[in-house]
């Protein structure tokens, strides 16, 4: 298992110069640089020893105002080799922007739209970046830690 892990990290190093392992992550994962995301994904998708043919999940995380960062986490899975890997990129909280991976995996389309909807992370070159769960005229990004909901939405009191 650890051999496989080393092998994958060595593979990712080909496309990204900064690779650090995520502490206490199940399945194991790496933090990569924002600019190298697309090349790493392409490599992991095409290389026969990696062959990550399925993108299961895209998660956004807001680390709060104090830290000033946001994260996007990609859960990849390879069906024939039965292995998983987590890719993580760290973005600034101001104008977070990242390349869309929907050119590689079609499932990224809606998963990234959801992250955009909830966190306001802009996915560059996304085919159809619109809000998905919230109404189109909703203000703010609900899953950000500093989000405060408006008192009224279209004259309807938002009570909770």
């Amino acid at each position: 298992m650890s051999d496989k892990r080393e092998e994958l990290i060595a593979l990712i190093r080909q496309a990204s110069d900064e690779v650090t392992e995520i502490a206490n992550s199940t399945p194991f994962g790496v933090i990569i640089k924002t600019e190298s995301l697309l090349s790493v994904c392409e490599l992991l998708y095409k290389n026969p020893t990696a062959y990550f043919d399925m993108l299961s999940c895209v998660t956004g995380i807001d680390n709060g105002i104090d830290t000033g960062t946001m994260e996007v986490i990609y859960h990849l899975y390879s069906i024939p080799l039965n292995q998983s890997i987590v890719l993580k990129v760290i973005l600034p909280r101001e104008n977070p922007e990242i390349e869309s991976v929907s050119t590689i995996w079609k499932s990224a389309n809606w998963l990234e739209r959801e992250v955009f909807d909830m966190f306001g992370i802009n996915f560059k070159n996304h085919p159809d970046l619109r809000r998905i769960l919230m109404p189109a005229d909703w203000k703010g990004y609900p899953l950000r830690k500093d989000y405060k909901h408006e008192e009224y939405y279209r004259n309807i009191k938002i009570e909770y």
Partner: protein, 404 residues
């Protein structure tokens, strides 16, 4: 001053969920048809914006989010054990399966997944498989309803009622159980439950065969579904499709077998895949057929679980299913992605625990219906409008899970 009620102005309605296509930019033969959100064949509150050329569909744009209940936002302010009722309400026709996945995820974070008593595990699998049958019954029955076959719907509702009554007997609730707890169960099974389960299996087996004959092998049903909405395997994998949909496209992939969580490695069951018996592999008929076959497999698993629960892991006076339930759930700082096979596909939970509080820093649900629905525009390009309903029904979505 009293606030005004919702203003029903036309521009108001258009702003909140605008169409993707603009009426004025259409070609002369094109037309936008709005389907839903209140339409029985959309299986809940799903709105489909259909760009059509006569009877032929050019593009479908699903508009979702009408049932969004902020699961992830709620989960960020609740202790782990109090999230379980919210988890129930995601996929409300298969709540046990969602609970099972969630509980396993938190147990894995706490590092107690090895200590869970075998009896608890077998009861969990038993109730989860019962719920899987109930969910598949809904999928098949409502699909028949979509295609104009009315009777099977009543039959599946009648049979599902038996499952719901059994689960109500065990947990006290009909659909949203809160039965599987982190580290254990709400209660042990009631006395006599195993016997009644066996009676149910004996009663139910011929009923599935009947359902198969009357609906799935029906000539009209085959005509409506065979060769419709064919999903090729490479597209399915690339789009993240899982569950019966992926298996219908011909891949023997089941997380119960692949990950081997809980006691599934000890159980003997087959994984049915679509073989294109009536048309091409991965058509709507294959998807329904795979679900029917999975009901048989679930019955097989139930029988094995009952055997264990009456034999090796019998009910004893000392057994306490709540013995391992932690008083305080505070996992170490970590990130974990737990996935499990739900009736509709891979249900994943992503947790980030900061190690300092009883509340997850982030809890994300990777809903299978959500990802499976994203294939709809791809599948329904160039088909007839009546086939759109057939394709949508065969995806088997639950809007509670799509919108969370």
């Amino acid at each position: 001053m009293k606030q005004q009620q919702y203003l029903y102005k036309e521009d108001n309605l258009i702003d909140s969920e605008p169409n993707k296509f603009c009426e004025s930019e259409l070609k002369s033969e094109e037309m936008i048809i709005n389907l839903g959100p209140q339409h029985p064949s959309t299986h809940g509150v799903l709105r489909l914006e259909v760009l059509s050329d006569g009877e032929i569909i050019k593009e479908v744009v699903p508009h979702i989010g009408y049932l969004h209940r902020c699961f992830e936002k709620h989960a960020e302010s609740l202790p782990y054990n109090q999230i379980i009722p919210f988890v129930d309400r995601m996929d409300y026709v298969a709540a046990m399966n969602s609970e099972h996945a969630y509980a396993m995820g938190v147990e894995k974070m706490l590092g107690i997944s090895e200590q869970i008593p075998k009896r608890v595990e077998y009861i969990r699998v038993l109730v989860a498989e019962m719920n899987r049958i109930a969910s598949h019954l809904i999928a098949i029955g409502t699909y028949g309803l979509d295609l104009g076959s009315f009777t099977p719907f009543f039959w599946i509702m009648r049979d599902r009622e038996h499952i719901l009554r059994l689960l109500e007997w065990a947990s006290g609730a009909r659909m949203l159980y809160n039965y599987i707890w982190i580290g254990g169960l709400f209660y042990d099974l009631p006395v006599g439950f195993e016997q009644r389960c066996r009676e149910f299996i004996t009663y139910f087996k011929p009923k599935v065969a009947e359902l198969e004959t009357i609906l799935v092998d029906n000539k009209i049903f085959i005509d409506r579904t065979a060769n419709v909405g064919v999903l090729p395997l490479n597209l399915a994998i690339n789009s993240g499709i899982t569950g019966p949909m992926l298996r219908a496209s011909g891949l023997r992939f089941d997380l119960r077998r692949v990950d081997g969580y809980s006691v599934y490695p000890e159980l003997d069951f087959e994984i049915p895949i679509g073989v294109g018996k009536m048309g091409k592999v991965g058509d709507c008929w294959d998807r329904t057929w795979v679900r029917v076959k999975e009901i048989y497999e679930s019955l097989k698993i139930m029988e094995q679980c009952l055997g264990k629960l009456e034999g090796e892991h019998k009910r004893t006076r000392e057994f306490d299913p709540q013995a391992l339930v932690p008083k305080k759930i505070r996992p170490k700082a970590q990130e974990l992605y737990m996935r499990a096979e739900n009736p509709k596909g891979e249900l994943g939970y992503f947790f980030r625990a900061d190690g300092k509080s009883d509340i997850p820093f982030r809890c994300k649900a990777r809903a299978c219906s959500f990802v499976n629905l994203s294939i709809l525009p791809e599948l329904s390009r160039g088909v007839l409008i009546a086939d759109l309903i057939a394709i949508l029904g065969s995806i088997d979505i639950v809007l509670g899970e799509v919108d969370r």
